[in-house]
Symmetry: D2
Subunit: 434 residues, 4 copies
C-alpha cells in the first residue's frame, strides 16, 4: 500500500485545510473541480467590493473543511448517534455541492434556463466526467449516493442537513469567507463555538443550548451580510446590465448567427437551446468576459454599449419602490424613452429579498428545516422560541425592489435637463426613493 496521503492547503479563513483522503484529493484535482478556480464566488459583487475576488474553488474547499471538522467531532464524541461510514459521502457532497455553478450563474440561469443544482448532479453522475470516475472507485453506486445528498433524497437526514439546511457547512463557510474577502465584519460569528455544540440527533442535527447565542449570532450575521453585501444596489446594477446584454445578444443571434459563431462560439448551444453538460463546463468568467469584450465593437449600438458598460463598470442608477407602486414605473420608463434610451434594455426592475430564518412550514412548497436547540434535559426547542432577535427576523422577508435607469438622465451636467427635472419630480417623493 502507498503511504497515506497528506496534503495541506493554506487557507486565509480556516488557516490550514488538511486532505488525507485520496478520493478527496483526486476530486480536487479533477478538471471539473479545477474549473471552479475560474468562477468568482460572488459574481458581480466584486465590482462593488473589490476585495471579494475569491472563486468558488476556495469556497468549496472551505465547505469540505467545515464538514470534515463536524464529522470528526461526531465520530469521536457521538459514536452512538453518528455512523462514521457516512463520513466519506458527507465530505464528497460538501466538496462538490457547488461544482455545477457556472459563470455568473444567477443571471445566466434566468436567461438560458439552466439550473446549477441539476448540473451538479449531472457532473457527479455522468459517466463521462472525471469526478464520476473518481467517485466510482469507492463503489458503483457511490456517485448516486453523493448526488442524492445534494437533492435531499439521501435517507440519512443528518448528512443532508450538514450540507443543506438553515445552518449548514455551505452557509457557514460562505458567510465567513465573503466577510473576510469583502472586509466587512458583519459575517463573522463564532464557528468554533458552533462546532462545539453541534450534535447529531434522530433524523437531523441540533445545537446544544450552551451555544444558542452563537447560533443566534450566526443568524444575525447572515441577515447583515444580505443587507450589506449581497443586496448592494451597485452589484445589482451590474447584474441588470449583464442580463440586458445577454438578452440583446440572444436577440441579435436570432436575427443573424454568423457574427456570434465567430466571436462567441461557446455560447451558441445556449442561444440555440441545445446545450449539454460539456457545453456548460466550457464556460467560465474569463470566457464570458472575453466574448463581451469582443462584442464591444459590434455594430449594434445597444449590444456594444451594454458590453462596454459591463466590462468597464459603468453602472446604472436606481430608485427603490414598493411593490404596490409598480404600475407607476411607466412614468419613469417614458422619460427614459424620451431621452433616447430603449427602456427594454436600459431600465429594469431588480428585486432582492431574503428570509433570514424561517420555522418549519410543512405545507410550504420548499419547507425549510428549522434550527433545533437541544436543552440540557433532552427536550428540543425551535430556535426562534428562545431568541428574541431570531423571532423578530423569522418568517419575514427583507430586501427591496429597485428600478434601474441610465445615470445620464440624472447626472449633474446631463444633456437631458428638462427630462431630469421631470424624473426628479418623481424620485424626490414618497413613491420612488434613491
Amino acid at each position: 500500500m502507498t503511504e497515506k496521503i497528506e496534503k495541506v492547503f493554506r487557507d486565509p479563513v480556516h488557516n490550514y485545510i488538511h486532505v488525507d483522503n485520496e478520493i478527496i484529493y483526486d476530486l480536487i484535482n479533477s478538471a471539473e473541480f479545477q474549473r471552479l478556480r475560474r468562477i468568482k464566488q460572488l459574481g458581480t459583487s466584486s465590482f462593488t467590493f473589490h476585495g471579494a475576488e475569491h472563486s468558488r474553488f476556495s469556497h468549496c474547499l472551505g465547505v469540505y473543511y467545515i464538514a470534515k471538522e463536524i464529522t470528526e467531532i461526531f465520530t469521536e464524541k457521538y459514536p452512538d448517534k453518528w455512523d462514521d461510514s457516512e463520513n466519506l459521502v458527507t465530505w464528497c457532497a460538501a466538496l462538490l455541492h457547488d461544482v455545477g455553478h457556472g459563470a455568473y450563474s444567477h443571471t445566466f440561469e434566468m436567461l438560458f434556463d439552466t439550473d446549477h443544482e441539476a448540473i451538479t448532479v449531472e457532473i457527479i453522475t455522468d459517466p463521462r466526467t472525471e469526478i464520476n470516475a473518481i467517485l466510482r472507485r469507492v463503489s458503483p453506486d457511490f456517485p448516486e449516493k453523493v448526488a442524492s445528498v445534494i437533492t435531499h433524497d439521501y435517507p440519512n437526514q443528518q448528512v443532508v442537513q450538514l450540507i443543506s439546511s438553515q445552518i449548514d457547512a455551505d452557509r457557514m463557510d460562505y458567510l465567513l469567507r465573503d466577510a473576510y474577502y469583502t472586509g466587512v465584519i458583519y459575517g463573522q460569528f463564532d464557528l468554533t463555538r458552533i462546532l462545539r455544540v453541534i450534535i447529531p440527533v434522530e433524523n437531523g442535527i441540533a445545537f446544544k443550548v450552551q451555544g444558542m447565542h452563537a447560533v443566534e449570532d450566526y443568524i444575525v450575521s447572515r441577515y447583515q451580510m444580505y443587507m450589506q453585501v449581497y443586496f448592494h444596489p451597485a452589484s445589482r446594477a451590474m447584474e441588470v446590465i449583464l442580463k440586458q446584454l445577454l438578452k440583446r445578444a440572444k436577440f441579435l443571434y436570432e436575427q443573424d448567427p454568423t457574427y456570434f459563431k465567430l466571436t462567441s462560439p461557446r455560447l451558441i448551444p445556449f442561444f440555440d437551446g441545445s446545450s449539454d453538460l460539456f457545453d456548460y463546463l466550457a464556460l467560465d468568467d474569463g470566457v464570458m468576459n472575453t466574448y463581451f469584450q469582443n462584442w464591444m465593437s459590434h455594430s449594434d449600438k445597444t449590444l456594444a454599449d451594454l458590453s462596454t458598460s459591463f466590462i468597464n463598470r459603468k453602472l446604472l442608477k436606481s430608485v427603490k419602490f414598493d411593490k404596490k407602486d409598480e404600475d407607476k414605473l411607466f412614468l419613469l420608463r417614458d422619460i427614459v424613452a424620451q431621452c433616447g434610451f430603449d427602456p427594454n434594455y436600459y431600465t429594469m426592475v431588480n428585486s432582492n429579498f431574503d428570509l433570514p430564518y424561517d420555522f418549519y412550514r410543512p405545507n410550504s412548497e420548499k419547507p425549510r428545516t428549522q434550527i433545533e436547540i437541544l436543552q440540557k434535559d433532552g427536550s428540543m426547542n425551535e430556535l426562534s422560541e428562545l431568541s428574541t432577535i431570531v423571532s423578530a427576523l423569522a418568517g419575514t422577508t427583507h430586501g427591496d425592489n429597485r428600478f434601474y435607469y441610465p445615470k445620464e438622465i440624472t447626472a449633474d451636467n446631463t444633456l437631458f435637463s428638462h427630462e431630469k427635472k421631470e424624473f426628479e419630480k418623481y424620485i424626490r417623493n414618497e413613491t420612488f426613493k434613491p
Copy 2:
C-alpha cells in the same frame, strides 16, 4: 461648484480607502484601470495559494492609500520639508504605477519582449487613452510628470522614493495584501508604526530611529514572503508550463497562422511582433485562459497537452541544483527524452533569486536607494549598520535553481520504471535535491 467628491472603497487590508479627489476617482473609473480587475496580482501563485486570487486593481488602490496617508502626514507634520503641491502627482503615480501590467506579465514579457513599465508610461502619456485625458485636465504636462515619477526621472526624489525604493508604498501594500490573501502571516509588519516614523529629508525619505525595528521587521517580512510564497516551486511549475505552451504556440503559428487567427486573434500581433499599446490592453487573464482552453483540442499533441496541464493544474515536478552543476542537467534531460517527452518543452530550468535588501552601490547598473535611519541628533545611518538581521540579509541573494520535469517519470506507478530508477539515482544524491 459641485459638492466635494467623497467615495469610499471597503478594503480588507486597509479597512476603508477614501477618495475625495475627482481626478483620482476618474482614473479609477477609466477603462485602462478597470482592466486591472481582470489580471491577478500574483499570476500563477494562486494555483498554489488558492486564497490569493486578488487582482492588480486591489493592489493599485492599496498603493494609492498608503501614498495618500504618507503625503497627508508629510503635509501636516513637515510643511517645511515637504511641498504639498507634490501630493497629486504622488497619488497619481501611486495609483498608476502598475497600470501597464498584463496577463501573466513576467512570463509574457520574456516571450514577447514587452515591458510592463514602458507600457505604464505609454498608457499615461499616449493621448489616446482615457487616463491621459484625465491627467491632462490637471495641466498639459501633468501626464509626463506622472510618467517621470515611474521612470525615476522626476526631480523631487522624495516623490520617486515614495513610489519606488526599497521601502515604498508599492512594496508595503503588496506584502500586506499578499499575506492577507494567501493566509500566511509572514508578510505582516507594523505599517502604522512605519507611517509614524517616515520623514521627508533632503533628496529623499528616511525613518526616525524610534521605528528602526519596524523597518527591520518589514525587511524580514519581505524576505520571508519571497522564500515562502513568491518562490514556491509549485507556482514556478505553472510558470514553466505557461512559458513552454506559449513557446509552442508561437512555433506552430510560424508554421501555420490560420488556426491561431481563429482561436486566439488577440495574440496575433504578439506572434507577429507587430503589437501596439491597444493590442496589449486587449489582453487579460480571462482572454489568455480562453485561448488556452481553445488550444486544448489542437491537433498538436504538445500544445494540447501543455494547455490542458495549465488549465487543469497538472504540475511538473522539480529538483534543486547548484549553478555549478548545470552542465550535468543533460543527464536528466536524456532520461526525459528516453521516456518520450520532448525535453525542449517538458523540462526547463527556473531560477528565482532575490536580494532582500542592499545598500547603495553607486557603480552598479541599477543602484538601489538604501534605507536611511534618522538619529535623534539629526545624523543618518544606513539601515544595515544598525540591524544585525538586515546586515545578515544585505547584499546576498536568496533563492534557488530548479530543474523541472514531467511527474510521470518518478510517479509511483510509472510506466517508466527503468528510467525512474536511473533518474532517481541522480536526484537522490548531493547534486540534485528534491
Copy 3:
C-alpha cells in the same frame, strides 16, 4: 514655548493612542488616574474569563481615544455644526468619566452606600486633587464644566451625548475592549464605519442612514455581551460571595473593631460610615484582596470561609427562577440551613437585567436619549423604526434571577445525600432551573 507634546500609547484595541495635549497627558499622569491601573475593568468577571484582566486605566484611555477621533472628525467635516472650542472639555470628560470607580465598585457601593459617579465629580472638583489642579490650569471654572458633562448638566448636549448616551464613546470602547480581552467575538462591531457616519445635529448627535446597519450591529453586540459575558452566572457567584463576606466583616466589626483596625485599616472609615474622598482613593483591588487574605485566618468561621472562597475562587452554585416564584425560595433556604449553612450568608438572590436599547420616554425617571438616524433628505428616524432587530430588543429587559447556594449540597459525593434529594426535587422542576 516648549515643543508640542507628542506621546503615544500602544493599545491592543485601537493600535496607537496619541496624546498631543499637555493637559490630557498630565491628567493621565496624576495619582488619581494612575490608581485606575489597580482596578480591574470587569471586577469579578476575570474569574470566569481569565483573559479579561484589563484595568479601568486602559478603558479610560480608550474612551479618550474614541472621543478624540469623533471631535477631530466633527472639527474637520462639520465646522458649522460643531464648535471646536468644545474639544478639550470633551476629551477631559471622556478620559475622566470613570475616574471615581473603585475596587469592585458595584458590590462595594451597595454595602457602603458610595456612588462612583458622585465620586468622579468630587475628584474633578475637589481642589485637593491633582486632577483638579491640572484642570484649573485651563480656567478656574473648567473643573466644573468637565464635571457637568458627567452629570449631564452641560449646556451643549452634543458633548453630553458623546460621553453618555445609548451609543457613546464609553460604551463603544468597553464593548470592543471587553470582547478583545475575554476573547469572545460578540462585542465586535464596525467602529470605523460608525465614526464615518456620526454627525453633530441640533442638540445632540445622530448617525447618517448609510451607517444604520453598523449601529444596529452595535446594539446586537451590546445585547450579546450582556447575555454572554456580563451576566455570566459564575461571575455573579463571585459577586455574591464578595457581598456576603463584606457584610459579615461589617457585622463583626460592629461587635469588635480591634481586629479590623489591625488587618484592614483602610476599610474602617467605611465600616464607620465616616469615609471621605481620600479614604475612597486609598482603596483598590489589591488592597481589598490583601485584607481578604488577612481575614482567611479570622476566628469567625463564616468570614474565614467566605474570604477563602473569594480568594481561591470556590464558587456557589445557582438555579434560575421567575420573579413570581420568589416566595418559594424559602423551601431551598430551609434545606441549606438544615445542612448547617447559614442561609443569610450562604444563599443569595442575584438578579441581572439589561435594556439593550430603549426609545425616549419623557416621563421615565431617567429618560434615555434615543438613537437618531439622519435620512438623506434631512429627516430623522429613531433607530428602532428602521431596524427589525432593534425594534425586537427595544424596551424589553433581558436577564434572569438566580438563587445561589453552596455547591456542597448538590455535589456528587455530598455529605447531605438526603437533603440533596429534597433539593433536587425542587430544582428539577419547572420553578427552579439549573
Copy 4:
C-alpha cells in the same frame, strides 16, 4: 464512575482551552495555582504597555494548551516515537512550570535571594500543598516526576525539551500572549505550522524542514519582543525604583523593625531571612502594592518618595553606555549627589541582554539545547546552519546598559540649571547616549 470531565476556558490567544482530565482541572483550582491570578505576567512592563495586564495564570493555562496540542499530535502521528504514558506528566509540568513565580519575581529574587524555580519544585513536592496532594492521587512518586521535568532531570528528554528548551511550550505561549496583550505584532509567528512540523526524535524533539521558515520566524519574533517590549527603558526604570525602594525598606527595617511589622507584616520573614514556602505564597502584586502605599507616608523621605514614585509611576530617566565606560559613571553620580539626591538610591545601572538563539556549547555552564531541523532524508541540521537570519543572531547577545537618574536633573524647568548643563555635557557626547 462519574462522567468524564469537560471544562472549557475561553482564551483570547488560543480561542478555547479544553480540560478533560480531572487532575489538571483540580490543579487549576488549587489555592497555589489560583494565586497566579494575582501576579502579573510581565511585572513592571504593564506600566509601559498598559494593555499588558495579564497574569501568570493565563500564561500557565496557555502553556498547558500548547503542550496538550503537541502530545496529542505525537500520540496520533508518532506512536512509535512517543510514549503516550508521558502525556500526563507533560501536561502537569507545562501547567505548573511557573507556579513558583512571585510578585515582581525578578527584582524580588535579587534582593531576598529567593529562586522561583526552586520554589516551583517545592510547591510540587511539599506534602503540605494542595498541588502535591492532587499529584499524589496519580501515584506517590508522581510529584517528584513532575518536579524532575522542571529541573531537567527527567529521563525522557523529549518531555524536558517540550517544557524547557529554545523553542518550548512556555516560550511559544508567552511570545504570542505578550504580543496579544501589548498590542505589538512582533511576537506573532505561525504556531499552527510549528505544531504541524514538530516531531519527537531520539532524545529530544526536532522540526521537519518544511517548517524551517516558521521556526526561523519564531526566533526573529523572540528577538523583536526582547528588543521592543521586554527591554523597554521605561519598564526598567520602574524595576530600578522597585529595587531601590525594597533596598531602602530593608535598610530601615534593620534600624527599627516596629513600623514594618505593622505596615507590611508578610515581608518580615524576608527582611529577616527566615522565610519559608508559605511566607512566599502569601505574597502577590496586590499585597506588595498595598505595603508600598502604606510606606508612602513613612517619615523616611527616601522610602516615602520611592514608594510614591512606584505607585504613581514617576519614572527615572536613563542614558545608554558601553561597559568599557562604566568607570566614568561616577561623573554623573557626582552631579546627582550635588543636586541633593542620594546616588545610592536615585541612580542605578540596569543591564538587559539576551541571546536570541545559541547552538549547543557542551562546555558552557548551562548548555542550551539547540534547535534541530529534520531533513527529508532523515539527517539533522542545527537551525543556524540553514538560516542566514538565525545564524546572524546566534551566539551574540543583544541589549544595553543603562544608567538611571532622577528626571528632575534634566527637566525643562529644572531647579538645577547649572548641574543640568554639566550633566548634558556628558550625555550629549559619544559616551552616554539618551
